[in-house]
Symmetry: C5
Subunit: 304 residues, 5 copies
Amino acid sequence: MSLTKIEYDRLIWINIERPTVEDINSFQDRFSFHPLALEDCLSRIERPKIDEYENHLFIVMHFPIFDSARRVSRPAEVDFFIGRSYLITVHDGILKPLNNFYLDCQENETTRVRYMSRGASTLLHTIIDRLVDYIFPILYKVDSQISQIEDEIFEADTRTLVQEISLVRRDIIALRRIIRPQIAIISNLEQKDRPFIREELDEYFGDILDHIYKVRDILDENYEVIADLSATTDSLLSHRINEVMRILTVISVIMLPLTLISGILGMNVRLPFQNYPYAFAGTMFLMMFIFLGMLLFFRHRNWL
Amino acid sequence: MSLTKIEYDRLIWINIERPTVEDINSFQDRFSFHPLALEDCLSRIERPKIDEYENHLFIVMHFPIFDSARRVSRPAEVDFFIGRSYLITVHDGILKPLNNFYLDCQENETTRVRYMSRGASTLLHTIIDRLVDYIFPILYKVDSQISQIEDEIFEADTRTLVQEISLVRRDIIALRRIIRPQIAIISNLEQKDRPFIREELDEYFGDILDHIYKVRDILDENYEVIADLSATTDSLLSHRINEVMRILTVISVIMLPLTLISGILGMNVRLPFQNYPYAFAGTMFLMMFIFLGMLLFFRHRNWL
Amino acid sequence: MSLTKIEYDRLIWINIERPTVEDINSFQDRFSFHPLALEDCLSRIERPKIDEYENHLFIVMHFPIFDSARRVSRPAEVDFFIGRSYLITVHDGILKPLNNFYLDCQENETTRVRYMSRGASTLLHTIIDRLVDYIFPILYKVDSQISQIEDEIFEADTRTLVQEISLVRRDIIALRRIIRPQIAIISNLEQKDRPFIREELDEYFGDILDHIYKVRDILDENYEVIADLSATTDSLLSHRINEVMRILTVISVIMLPLTLISGILGMNVRLPFQNYPYAFAGTMFLMMFIFLGMLLFFRHRNWL
Amino acid sequence: MSLTKIEYDRLIWINIERPTVEDINSFQDRFSFHPLALEDCLSRIERPKIDEYENHLFIVMHFPIFDSARRVSRPAEVDFFIGRSYLITVHDGILKPLNNFYLDCQENETTRVRYMSRGASTLLHTIIDRLVDYIFPILYKVDSQISQIEDEIFEADTRTLVQEISLVRRDIIALRRIIRPQIAIISNLEQKDRPFIREELDEYFGDILDHIYKVRDILDENYEVIADLSATTDSLLSHRINEVMRILTVISVIMLPLTLISGILGMNVRLPFQNYPYAFAGTMFLMMFIFLGMLLFFRHRNWL
Amino acid sequence: MSLTKIEYDRLIWINIERPTVEDINSFQDRFSFHPLALEDCLSRIERPKIDEYENHLFIVMHFPIFDSARRVSRPAEVDFFIGRSYLITVHDGILKPLNNFYLDCQENETTRVRYMSRGASTLLHTIIDRLVDYIFPILYKVDSQISQIEDEIFEADTRTLVQEISLVRRDIIALRRIIRPQIAIISNLEQKDRPFIREELDEYFGDILDHIYKVRDILDENYEVIADLSATTDSLLSHRINEVMRILTVISVIMLPLTLISGILGMNVRLPFQNYPYAFAGTMFLMMFIFLGMLLFFRHRNWL
């Protein structure tokens, strides 16, 4: 575990990364947190929620992190304990905007003045605002993947295309799962008169809510677009099978009868016109005639 | 930025195209707008919304613009600040009906008399009404594309068809995404007793609401129709693969045995009937017999 | 325009077919209708709605008409103005039950006595009742088309089947779109205490509501059934491709090796057993052996 | 029509099968039923509903009957008129549990004592309870059909499978349509303080409600399972086409080059090695080499 | 039946496995349970519910058990009777966590002290908590199956893949059906002021609710992921058919014309260049030329 803290103007921000059972137990003594809340900090992935206790508010939120190994986004959890004069953030240390903001607060007096002088709830708002804004680069990545699929859909190798569509779709499914419950949390912070949350912040939480609704809308549209691209890929695959089949059929239908004719004339039995001087030329003429007739027939049926 | 204004009968209409940060900041001094609202004017695409402030109403709306490069509709944003004696429109300058109406107000006394003498909310209503009516030509384009696909579905080249269906579907998805949140805005303007909106206008906003519901209904029906056309194309593709396969199979099943017979008789070993005078005629007869038998068999199975 | 009227027992029924702008303007003078309502009468297709004005009720309703050219149902609009002592119907003249009922009222004293002696709202109820009942023949047509598809699905030519399914599905989509908003109108007439609508009629409008719910239920079930038939057709098409492929493969796998053998024995090089007397019989025996072996193999794999 | 009745302890149960217009009219004189309710008894299929009249309650309910000709379930209607001292059941006579229970009441004193001594509503409850329980055997039939499809999906003939899946799906669609509106009826009988329904029965109607919810849940799950089976069948069909194609391709790719070689050596031109003694053996060796090379290549690509 | 009980500190826990009709009847005498509740204990699968009676609460819940024979999860029922001083659990004896916890209570004094000293509702909470936690291992199994499918999707044998996807999807369908109604039960226990449930437990039931919501979320995401994997498999199958078709077509288009040429030159008629010394070499050159031309053509069309 790493536990550090910043104190400024009667407000303490305690930042805890990867806490262990002992760390959590030591909290119990210092702050009188509810045992269920402390338990939730330890479990790997808890559902996002707001629990109101007598002397503090416990908030669990998730933000997406792109897992480049599995090529899909996964949730990173942040737990907030907010009291009258303190904010405790518990997380895995992988959310860059939170780390950066903490460092900024630690090092720059101006940042501290700006964000820590108006109480714990303003600090909470700033952290959530930055974490929500951090979702957009992930969306832009998805957007650019979709644009690339759109550009390549009529040219690219289908196997790669199918794989790409599947991966993007699974990423969108994961992102939607992560984003959806956060909306409930933020809209809850905006609407209700929560203790420890200053009322003037409602408008500001409303602004975050606008952003997260935008995230949801982009994901919903992307999901529909990727479904359309998947359907289009399937139609194109059927179309290509059809094209290839047509060429094979045309070539077989033209070649097989000609091969049969040459086979018949190659039989080792007495052919009636075996010794006619123009037998070969006549056969060639017949073959050419069949060949051209077939071509005309297929052109007539719009196969060529 | 271009900032122009029209003053008439104690009402000022300020029209701002492509504002910069400095433009926005200069506003703050003149009108006492809320900083969050001003921030929203600058961000590329904001969610549609109505924010009620003490001395003005801030409305963000989107209207579809067809992007002919990407062949899909995209949202164009208009922001309205409406106060007791002014209306401010902030936009990108690409919405023709808004530009035209502004020019018309600037140049024609009669237009000004008609639309600017009954306060800012009547002006707002007129602008939104014209912008909503401007959506219909875009829908007619989609409609005519669908009609064309319907006409060609049993004849056209499938590749083009698949491409057309995919593009139209993506356009409908985009249009639905743009239209949906506007309904909430307009229905909000109609129902609630909003400050700065004259109550007599409720019926007129109700009329706009009817139009936008009609837009939504047309899009919903178009979406279902395009899904049906897509499914039909897929079925037709399977059907055509089936047809082509059948022809290939018929021709192979008829030709391969005949070719085998000719091959057997072409072997360089002592054929038992090699020197019979009617060997060739007999072989021909056998082949014709097999050929006709096969034809009858396929006709019996309804393959021909 | 054609404007005719029937007067009976202090009630006037004015029936207007295909009104023009001038016709509508002349109304304004006579009845004091709201300008928005009059505008709605002129626009091609208005959304169904009930608008309550001071001295009259304005109702827009749609009923399906089968367009045999495009082979799909489309909405026909009827506008009702209902006041204390008059009912005005504005329509295109293509709804047979309305035309017939009007003629009947015009010509038969008994019909007039029965339907026009209890006020405008009873007349309105009768007209809507007949128009709703007129939807059922259209449904029976759809029903019989579906039954026909069900009967033919395992036998018919797939191309016709795919085309039929697509047309029926598009017709059901159109009908659902037309019916859905009418439910809101009729349920509104039943529930609310509307001016100009006699309260005793609530039960009778409830009866119409039952009918239109039945229409909706039939359409919903038909939609699900046609989706199932479409999926079944696709499965059958795949199955048939599979069958055809299997026959082609069996015939190729049997014939190609035999053809190769005959080809080898037809080579113009010194064949080791060229002059053996039983070379031909031996080859034939070998071929028959391979042929039967293949047959057994395919039977074993259940391909035959 | 057949009209019979049972009288016991001041309660009359009148059971009417297949009533005609005259029968219904004769009712009007005896009981003062609402004309709309009587009309509903005659129409072929009425929507399920509860209509409350001054001196009686009119209930229309549907229960599924398996139509073995069309192989799909269809609704059988029962109409109930319930008053203070009578229960009238109007139906088609095809619902066995109703017929059996009526016979039982007619013949057995004990049944009459048990079910007819506590008023009309207890009798109504008993009839509905038995009719709902009668749905389960139909569900078990569907269940066993699904189990059979599950067992056969990887072995059975696909054509039969596709047909079976389509029939079961259509049956489930029909059953869901029939069951859904009954839930509203029964939950209505449970919740509201209905006249003519004893309040103590609420718990018992709640029990029926539990059963019909169970029916709905089973149907919903079955619908999802059949959709999965249908998708699986389609995937398997594609897989099989793929398998067959692979065999055809392998055999063609191996045989065609060998046939070409034999064809070249069968040409009637001066072959350079025509008279070499080992020409045949060399050719055979070359063919074998190509054959084995191809086999290794396909094994390497995992095609064999 | 096996009936055992544990008594501790004025609380009796009666545990009944596989009760028969007689067992249930004997209850009636001892506790005054409602006959409907007792009936529900006997029926094979009852819907989850909470019934409130005068002197006890009757709760039916289901928990998933993996049926390894059918390879799908099925519900195991537990019925709870909770009164002021007793808790009765009725079940099939196949839910391990319930059996284990019962044994633990029986054998260990400490367990009894911990869970049985705070009344029947705390005991109920503990049992439900353990049963809900027992669902997670089942989910992890599903999760690992999905991961395995994800890993193998581009390599594995499609037949196994299709079978695996179908089985996992059916398992998820079953699990969702089992989980969904439990949410209503637990959220009911949390929210309402239920008799026999201590109010302080609300937070603890809220914690179980969080867990079961998590279960639901995981299942919903898994369902979407498996749907995507199924669609991807179908696309891949089409892609592979396309690939195989392409190889077959390329080989046929190249080989068939060459075979025809060799066939023509093998005809037993006077060939014009039969005795030219370079006839063979010229033919070979022509064939090579056609072969290379074809290769270039297919490379040009990106088929190779």
